[in-house]
Amino acid sequence: MAQEVRHLLGMEGLSAEDITLLLDTAESLAEVCERDVKKVPTLRGKTVVNLFLENSTRTRISFEIAAKRLSADSINISGSGSSMSKGETLADTARNLAAMAPDAIVVRHPSAGAARLLADIVGCHIINAGDGSHEHPTQALLDILTIRQHKPHLAGLKVAIVGDILHSRVARSNLFALRTLGAELRLAGPPTLLPRAFEQFGASIHHDLAEAVEGADVIMMLRVQRERQEGNYFPDLDEYARYFCLTEEVVSRAADDVIILHPGPMNRGIEISSGVADGPWSVMMHQVTNGVALRMAVLYQLIVPGADGIRGSETDEATAGRESAGSVPPPRQAGGASGGRA
């Protein structure tokens, strides 16, 4: 029997049931966001620390709003205003935060494995809000929630993920989750940003955008991450755009009812044309709206004891499996094991 999951470190290792539970919870909590009084008391007295050591608008605000709508107290820490700018290590910062007894820490960090490191040294729940090029599980969950609202049957759905696959934690988390849910995955990008190794995910590899998009039900665009490109992965942005910019002409090759996602922030004219970004296929604002409800669902399922609880697909039983109510289950993580790149 699977045990309670204490952390959300990645989509790797989460079962289809866990994913569905989080999406269903988010669907119910979305109603709270449409009320005049956008608040329920369920996490009253709980403290959520948002430790964002890399720039973020959407994700940080989304987590903050999510915590507040559940009546938790949320506190934001960014790298520049904290002791980390005085040279304190991530581990020491985390230990000091943990000593103030928060119930959950939401962490974004430029290094892969940062969330796992925190989960290993502190006692509270850890939620990965993006660790380097590794995983960004809540983004994948909100993407899949958005897809599910438009295309209820995920199994067999043709999903093309396009762009800088190599550096994208969004792509990695979506690959793990969509593979678990049985979608047909296609990856597209220049060979430098899409190594053959990605075939391991059961995805087909395309270096021609039109070929990947042909008949697709869903196109998921990725941001060209200029900040992560110390190497020269492509000659220049103009050339990248010539081959991999999603234009209306390319979109016309996809299914008639195709939907287009982008995790933001987007580079208009580089990976996506303005016509497409603002066109009828775009569900980007749904993604942002869904992000709040989805993060409420994650906070609720992790923090509230006796909530349904995501359970993880690993089946290592034995170690103190059946705890009586009130005792603290041993730390377990959902996914996100290696911290390395696929």
């Binding site: 269903d24 004891p305 349904d308 109510a325």
Partner: protein, 176 residues
């Protein structure tokens, strides 16, 4: 563990008919709203609304509320508490709202439902209709309309089954 039937299908129907009449009598048929408490209260509210419409020719507004996020015993349940949808597609301010649930026990569910309701507006009055009152209140809450009072011991379980959810209308009392 034994289970004995305390209300059969015919009696559930008659009890609901009586409650529908009582609600209309007390409120003069006025501008009513029924809100069912998830899960079992929702089909009960639906049936009461249909019955009231067949009596008065006018249907009350119908909504549902999920109280999971308002409970004071989260984590003490130890069982799955799936968060359901709340759907109150009308303004409750200055209306008479009748909350509908299957079993009134400790009163904590009703307390949660009252809190949830207040987040949607300021009703003129809130009344409570339940199919079964089994006693053992832990809060100063009472029902305005009761289908049947069933004396129970604290260890017993009252199970309400409805055709919409379980394929039959019946109330069972489990345990000794």
């Amino acid at each position: 563990m034994s289970a004995r039937s305390v209300l059969d299908s015919g009696r559930v129907g008659r009890v609901l008919l009586r409650i529908a009449h009582e609600i209309l009598e007390r409120n003069g048929g006025g501008d009513l709203a029924l809100v069912g408490i998830r899960t079992t209260g929702v089909p009960l509210a639906g049936r009461l609304a249909a019955t009231m419409e067949s009596i008065e020719g006018r249907a009350p507004d119908l909504g549902s509320v999920d109280v999971t996020m308002y409970r004071d015993d989260q984590g003490r349940l130890g069982t799955a508490a799936v968060v359901g949808q709340t759907d109150i597609p009308f303004d409750i301010t200055n209306r008479t709202v009748v909350l509908v649930d299957d079993v009134l026990f400790t009163g904590r569910t009703i307390r949660s439902a009252l809190d949830a309701l207040m987040d949607f507006g300021r009703p003129a009055a809130v009344q409570l209709a339940v199919l079964v009152d089994r006693g053992h209140r832990e809060l100063p809450i009472r029902a305005d309309y009761v289908g049947k009072n069933i004396p129970t011991s604290i260890d017993q379980k009252v199970q309400v089954r409805l055709a919409e959810l379980d394929g039959e209308d019946a109330v069972y009392l489990e345990g000794n």
